[in-house]
Amino acid sequence: MRQFLFILGAIAVLFVLNLVLPALVNPYIFQILILCGINIILAVSLNLVNGHTGQFSIGHAGFMAIGGYTCAALTYYLGPQIVERATSIGLPPAVSGITFFVFSLLAGGAASAVAGFLVGLPSLRLRGDYLAIVTLGFGEIIRVMILNVEAVGGARGFADIPGHTNFFWVSFFVFLTILVVRNLTTSTHGRAFISVREDEIAAEALGINTTNYKVLAFVIGAFFAGVAGGLFGHYLMYLHTNSFTFMKSFEVVIMVVLGGMGSITGSVIAATLLTVLPEALRPVKEFRMVIYAALLIFLMIVRPQGLLGMKELSLRTFRSLPFRTEKSKSRQGESGAAEGTNKNAD
């Protein structure tokens, strides 16, 4: 009950923020905020594959593209009809439009998940760098294939996508992604994921179906990448395959490694840092990307294990969140008060 109330409260806070925020900050900052959210979803979901399960995927942009284009095609081609039908039975267009948008996001995620399953399958046979190059190749193939589909704009790009993405939906899916990945990795299944990373042969010897877990990680990771793609397309209202080159995949891998493999909070911090950094460096003009790259090399040499290593940031704040474990239930009372303040800070 308490958890339910908390989630309701959080949603209410997000909803209010959604109304207030665009008026408070300028559009530029607001856009960075949205992109931060989308990158966090990408980084945390890739972390499940690369960080927790120890597989090496550099094709996340491909999954993002599948989700983004599927979702955009649904709202673009079917959206108006659905809204019309709904209006004829008395539903206001705003409600039906948003409902269909969320449905399309999930459908985009599902399409990506299917693709994730297909890519996850070769991981039965391939390891390490061979797997990496297959995922990279898969991402590129997806991109070239979309480039040749005229219905989604082909080389011109997919324009006039309805702009449904707002702060509420981005932050909602950020929390959902973190919640799912965090709950999954702290469960029995999570131990299995981590055992695959630590020593595949030993895990197999202990009766863990490593194949299952590898494919599962790919499917879940791809699902959220697809959702992120949907949010991305409906925020910019335009999609082009150039946004989904292997450089985008690299960007997400960099976030995961820089944050620390297997650290969710690390991914969140690194995703935010790497989204804000290129913008913060705008005053130095053409030296922006040079400094960005130099800083990246420097950070990797100074902290090879990533910013947070394998640790999570401040376990105490996590204990006070609704997905607590048995042990922390006794702490409910003292941490309950902290909940509200924590959320508001977000």
């Binding site: 090496f56 070769p122 046979r125 391939l126 390891r127 760098d129 061979y130 990496a132 190059i133 297959v134 990279l136 190749g137 898969f138 590129e140 193939i141 070239v144 294939m145 480039l147 040749n148 042969i201 030993a202 292997f246 690299f250 891998v253 960099i254 490694v257 820089l258 493999m261 053409e286 030296f287 990307m289 040079v290 960005y292 790259a293 130099a294 990246l296 090399i297 990797m300 040499i301 090879p304 294990q305 990533g306």
Partner: protein, 300 residues
């Protein structure tokens, strides 16, 4: 048939360039287990060095054969120096870190070189001077070969043979093979692994630079981002042939070049970038360690 042969000739030329780049990837991988993503940008630097060197020697006017060879050697020297600097500066401090950290550093170095290139060389493409006059030569059955294609083929074959001699016949080559077989053990046998690694980077980068000059000669438009796609595809070629395996990289490069040219010639140029990867996935599904790679048994 005539068209097919023509495509084959073009494919082999293009493939030998991929092979030259792929060699650098595969050697570095064999020794460090590192995918050196900056390799494609070393290739770009090679092309630009040659561009400036050629202008120094009086191009776009006529240039003597001696000067043309000098341009090639200069580009190779500058790039191998760059390779050594990259290795010493960025990868050496990470010898004992997780492999992924090194990989991210390699991506960082690649980004750094590209963006430095954009500042130093400018974003607009430069036209590489024709330091060797283009001429068409007709082979027996109506197949046309340009003088550039002959240069590309002969230079790359020469370099590959030279590399094989170095790797198989010299002392440093023996050391390279030892280090790539087992780094710790070879270091215990008195091989200076750091020097061997540096040497490998120097050789690989020189080969990439040669590829850069050869490409610039036949497709004379060069820009700071020219290394991204060929670099990636050459890496795919290295994996295709079995990464870490030198003849494998040559074979992979050739297959890549030929299949790409065939797809452009017979299907559609829009699928050019996809074919490389599709081919790779099919081959890896059948033979997970690449065509000539030997699978390393996993020890418990």
């Amino acid at each position: 048939m005539q068209e097919f042969l023509q495509q084959l000739v073009n494919g082999i030329t293009w493939g030998s360039i991929y092979a030259l780049i792929a060699l650098g990837y595969t050697m570095v991988y064999g020794i460090l287990r590192l995918i050196n993503f900056a390799h494609g940008d070393v290739y770009m630097v090679g092309a630009f060095t040659a561009y400036f060197a050629a202008r120094l020697f009086g191009a776009p006017g006529p240039v003597s054969l001696f000067a043309a060879v000098l341009v090639l050697l200069l580009a190779m020297a500058v790039s191998s120096l760059l390779g050594v600097v990259i290795e010493r500066g960025a990868y050496k401090p990470l010898r004992k870190s997780p492999r992924l950290t090194m990989l991210i550093t390699a991506i960082g170095v690649s980004l750094l070189l590209e963006n430095l290139g954009l500042i130093v060389f400018g974003a607009d493409p430069k036209f590489f001077p024709q330091i060797v006059a283009p001429r068409q030569i007709e082979l027996g059955v109506g197949v046309l070969v340009s003088s550039h294609q002959i240069i590309v083929l002969s230079v790359s074959v020469l370099l590959m043979v030279a590399l094989q001699v170095v790797v198989l016949k010299t002392k440093i080559g023996k050391a390279m093979r030892a280090v790539s077989f087992h780094r710790e053990a070879s270091s215990l046998m008195g091989i200076s692994t750091d020097n061997v690694i540096t040497f490998t980077f120097a050789v690989g980068s020189a080969l990439a630079a040669a590829a850069g000059v050869l490409v610039a000669l036949s497709n004379p438009k060069i820009d700071p981002l020219m290394g991204i796609m060929p670099g990636l595809k050459a890496f795919v070629a290295a994996v295709l042939g079995g990464i870490g395996n030198i003849p494998g990289a040559m074979l992979g490069g050739l297959i890549m070049g030929i299949s790409e040219v065939m797809v452009v010639g017979y299907i559609s140029s829009t699928y050019r970038d996809a074919i490389a990867f599709a081919l790779l996935i099919i081959i890896l599904l059948v033979k997970p360690t690449g065509l000539m790679g030997t699978g390393m048994g996993e020890k418990v």
